[in-house]
């Protein structure tokens, strides 16, 4: 895997679909609950939140709706585990509350003129939570372990690495095959060599790491499975000590009950709030609900595989057919219906939280909400309407396709129904079938013989960088993330160029160009970018920063560290 593009990428897709599932499931009663609660009495501070708001030993309580998988950062794939472990383990660099890169375990870094060698100067006097000193050997060990054993989600960021070498106790030199626009130091947690050395790859796969030892602002406390995860402030932290004496993540199996728990002050902040409940929560006493631009989107994907083994309908290989389908669909309507308005209409691969990396396509140049235009281009291309109103190709094959969606992701099913009705307006017939996520995944990702036409799903960026989402449609990702089997050498080349471009403005131009190219292909219909909806109490903790992408469950841990009791 020399190609950067060949890397397996981390995805937060699972998290994403679960979030979305809450949207419509909550239909009747909870909406009433949320509405009624406006009249409820002011909740007293929770009885046993013994510590909350009571000085420096106070506990910050976070509500979440799913548990971590494991505390082993080299085998974990859950967003929840990452959220906990980012407080226990440090990286060489960290994002601050504005998502700007800041030095962490590395005090500084310098990049060589050719951009291929990065020298990190490490902070001195740092100790692991078990008292052992932290040295350059630990960094050397972590980078090489991940790279050599191709371990974990982090291996993707080191695919181009040639070597990582400790030079003295506080210097590490990392050499890559080509310049890295995204600094892997922002992603990789540094592990203690004295604990992890000596384990074979297979042993690491089975290692539960029940007591993670890091250098971070919090030490690991406990994980009561099915209930809570607790971390405690690290008094010996090298930086500014964290505000909360501890952080407790509390598991809720029901999102409606979870949404109410911030009102009753059983928790201080919620990782997610269903859109239909958000308005009710927003009006509650001492609670602030926030709606922040997100790093994710939901999309419709077309099977554009040219592999003879593909079972996809070959009529979809004609971009005109895909563009006509895209024209038929009204993204604004989708946002209003599926997200209760809490999102932006979709267009390109990168969501709004990517700031200037996102390409803005003028509305009159988008394939959006214009069925007349869809009919026009289909007429021009010679797809005439058949006797039953469904258009046919010149050889008489009807424009009729299979459409699949995940049944538990209610917003996707709703979107698929709307899409089916829209497509009829341009004379294209879609047959909708729903299934569970696992099944849909195995159908879509069956790279040997992808036997499907159109699906509905979503993506969430694993990093605060265009690299991840832009990398999805690479030809080298076929069998990996590439869920539509798009293969365009010019796109691949453009991607490689931006990934090695260290000048920001130059990279933005390349990233825009790549987005336009993929947009024009219409292999995806990006339906919407959903907002990140969260809520926190204003009477227990203060100092929250409304960071794009989320107050918590974001690429930064800053909010956990910076808040302090009211």
């Amino acid at each position: 895997m020399d190609e950067r593009a060949g890397r397996p990428y981390i995805t937060r897709r699972e998290f994403l679909t679960r979030t979305a599932a809450g949207v419509v499931v909550v239909g009747g009663l909870p909406a009433i609950l949320a509405a009624c609660t406006g009249a409820a009495n002011t909740p007293e501070p929770s009885s046993g939140g013994s510590a909350a708001g009571g000085g420096s030993s106070a506990a910050l309580r976070v509500g979440w709706s799913s548990e971590p998988d494991t505390m082993n950062p080299l085998t974990s794939y859950s967003t929840e585990a990452q959220e906990v472990l980012q407080l226990v383990y440090d990286k060489l660099m960290e994002y601050d509350a504005q998502l700007a890169a800041q030095p962490s375990l590395a005090e500084s870094s310098t990049t060589s003129d050719d951009g291929r060698t990065v020298t990190y100067t490490l902070r001195s006097g740092v100790t692991w939570h078990d008292g052992e000193p932290f040295t350059a050997d630990d960094v050397d060990f972590t980078f090489n372990l991940i790279h050599d054993e191709n371990l974990s989600q982090y291996a993707q960021w080191l695919a181009d690495m040639i070597s990582a070498e400790a030079q003295g106790p506080d210097t590490v030199v990392v050499t890559f095959k080509k310049p890295q626009a995204f600094d892997p130091a922002l992603a990789i947690p540094i592990l203690p060599k004295h604990i992890w050395a000596g384990m074979k790859s297979a042993e690491i796969q089975k290692f539960a790491n029940d007591e993670p030892v890091g250098t971070g602002p919090f030490t690991f406390g406990s994980w009561e499975r099915g209930q809570t995860v607790t971390v405690n402030r690290n008094p010996d932290f090298w930086g500014t000590p964290a505000g909360p004496g501890s952080v407790i993540w509390v598991l809720f199996q029901n999102e409606d009950v979870m949404a109410q728990s911030v009102r009753t002050a059983e928790v201080d902040i919620l990782s997610e709030v269903p859109p239909t409940i958000w308005d009710g929560i927003n009006g509650a006493d001492q609670v602030k609900a926030v709606s922040l631009p997100g790093f994710s989107f939901h999309h419709i994907g077309f099977n554009v595989s040219e592999d003879p083994a593909s079972g996809g309908n070959p009529l979809l290989l004609d971009p005109v057919v895909r563009q006509a389908l895209s024209y038929s669909l009204d993204r604004n309507q989708l946002v209003q219906i599926a997200l209760a308005g809490h999102g932006q209409p979709g267009s390109v691969l990168l969501p709004p939280a990517m700031a200037d990396y996102q390409l803005q396509i003028p509305e009159d140049q988008q394939f959006n909400a214009n069925p007349d235009m869809g009919n026009q281009i289909l007429d021009q291309a010679g797809y005439a309407a058949g006797s039953d109103g469904v258009r046919e190709s010149s050889s008489g094959d009807p424009l009729q396709f299979r459409l699949i969606a995940i049944e538990s992701t209610t917003v996707d099913v709703r979107a698929a129904q709307i899409f089916r009705d829209s497509a009829a307006k341009v004379g294209i017939k879609l047959d909708l079938e729903t299934m569970d996520e696992n099944t849909l995944g195995s159908i879509v990702y069956n790279a040997d013989a992808p036997d499907w036409d159109i699906f509905v799903w979503g993506w969430d960026s694993g990093v605060n960088d265009p690299d991840y989402l832009l990398g999805v449609p690479l030809s080298s990702q076929i069998g990996g993330n590439n869920d539509v089997y798009y293969a365009e050498p010019n796109y691949d080349a453009l991607y490689d160029e931006q990934a090695a471009e260290l000048d920001h403005d130059a990279r933005v131009d390349l990233v825009h160009e790549a987005q336009q190219m993929f947009y024009d292909s219409a292999a995806y219909i990006v339906m919407w970018y959903q907002d990140k909806l969260q809520a926190y109490r204003t009477d227990t903790w203060t100092g929250w920063s409304d960071t794009p992408g989320g107050v918590i469950f974001n690429f930064t841990r800053a909010n956990y560290v910076n808040v302090h009791p009211v």
Binding site: T11, P43, N438
Partner: protein, 323 residues
């Protein structure tokens, strides 16, 4: 050699259990989607890594061999290794089981005892206003969806009145001065889920007890007892109830099995860290080992409960013994 009724029952029990183990094992392997793929599919793992993982967890071996390994482990009390939590399954399950037993124990006592008392009162005053309102009330409660009742209670007692905690088994982060406070805290958390289970499930016991007792109370020996001047209460409880117990015992045995389904909903609404919640999470994660253990436990519960009710029948009713 002819086996006596007891050894025959035990043999049946063992055969049923084995069938459950086999079925259980196969069930999760014919379902679409495999756990390694669940990781690999979303692009985290290369094919090579997926194979490696498969080998580590023994999923690369033929199914028959996997079953043999599973069976051998089971005999030693080894329920397997969780792919999600990277822990032995038995370690994960014990605490969950305790929590579920706590919840179900409390609920079952309330449901059975209160159900029988209400049913008996209703039967002994058959046709009265009390009787008809009890029947209507039972039917109404019985037809309510469990999670809906739960959410309603959350809203009324948790949010509106704000007198009871709405989720979990303890208050997160609470530090207890004495074990007594820990007990009080758990009890408080137990109130709403128990009431939910009781409200929804009590109806069936009321109705079964009532109809069974109404039948018995019309029989000749009851009339005789009345004629002898035996007090009404004594007639109902000593003479009537003893003979009306069989359907109630059956219902209780079935309830223990059925309640698992109800408990999944209640545990989900109240985030009670029990077996139901574990099962639900494990289905989503295709964690074979945990699922097998959960389903095995559920099946064993039902089978053993039925076995015990069989034995209890024989004690309660000489006619069964003779048959």
């Amino acid at each position: 050699m002819r086996l006596g009724p007891f050894p025959r029952k035990v043999l049946q029990l063992v055969a049923t259990l084995f069938a459950v183990v086999v079925f259980n094992f196969l069930l999760f392997r014919v379902l679409p989607g495999d756990p390694i793929q669940l990781y690999a599919r979303s692009g985290h793992l290369s094919a090579e890594q997926a194979e490696q993982l498969r080998a580590v967890f023994g999923l690369d071996k033929p199914v028959v061999e996997q079953f043999w390994i599973y069976l051998k482990g089971l005999m030693h009390g080894d329920l397997g290794f969780s792919l999600t939590y990277r822990q032995p399954v038995s370690q994960i399950i014990v605490q969950r089981l305790m929590n579920t037993l706590l919840l179900l124990g409390a609920a079952t006592v309330v449901v059975v005892v209160v159900g029988i008392v209400l049913g008996a009162r209703s039967a002994s005053k058959r046709g009265s206003r009390l009787d008809s309102s009890t029947v209507v009330g039972s039917l109404a409660l019985w037809s309510m969806p469990t999670f809906w009742v739960g959410l309603l209670l959350v809203f009324v007692f948790g949010v509106w009145l704000d007198i009871l905690p709405i989720s979990g088994i303890t208050t997160p982060g609470a530090v207890y001065g004495t074990p007594l406070w820990s007990f009080v805290d758990v009890s408080k958390h137990l109130v709403l889920p128990t009431i939910t289970l009781a409200l929804v499930d009590i109806g069936q016991f009321v109705l079964i007890t009532r109809s069974s007792l109404v039948d018995v109370l019309t029989e000749d020996f009851v009339t005789t007892a009345r004629a002898k001047g035996v007090p009404r209460k004594r007639v109902v409880w000593r003479h009537g109830m003893r003979n009306a117990m069989l359907p109630v015992v059956t219902a209780s045995a079935l309830y223990i099995g059925l309640v698992v389904g109800g408990a999944i909903q209640v545990e989900t609404v109240f985030s009670w860290p029990g077996m139901g919640e574990l099962t639900y999470e494990s289905v989503l994660r295709r964690d074979y080992a945990v699922l097998e253990a959960c389903f095995l436990l559920f099946a064993v519960t039902v089978i053993v409960a039925n076995f015990l009710s069989d034995l209890l029948y024989r004690r309660l009713d000489p006619r069964v013994r003779a048959a």
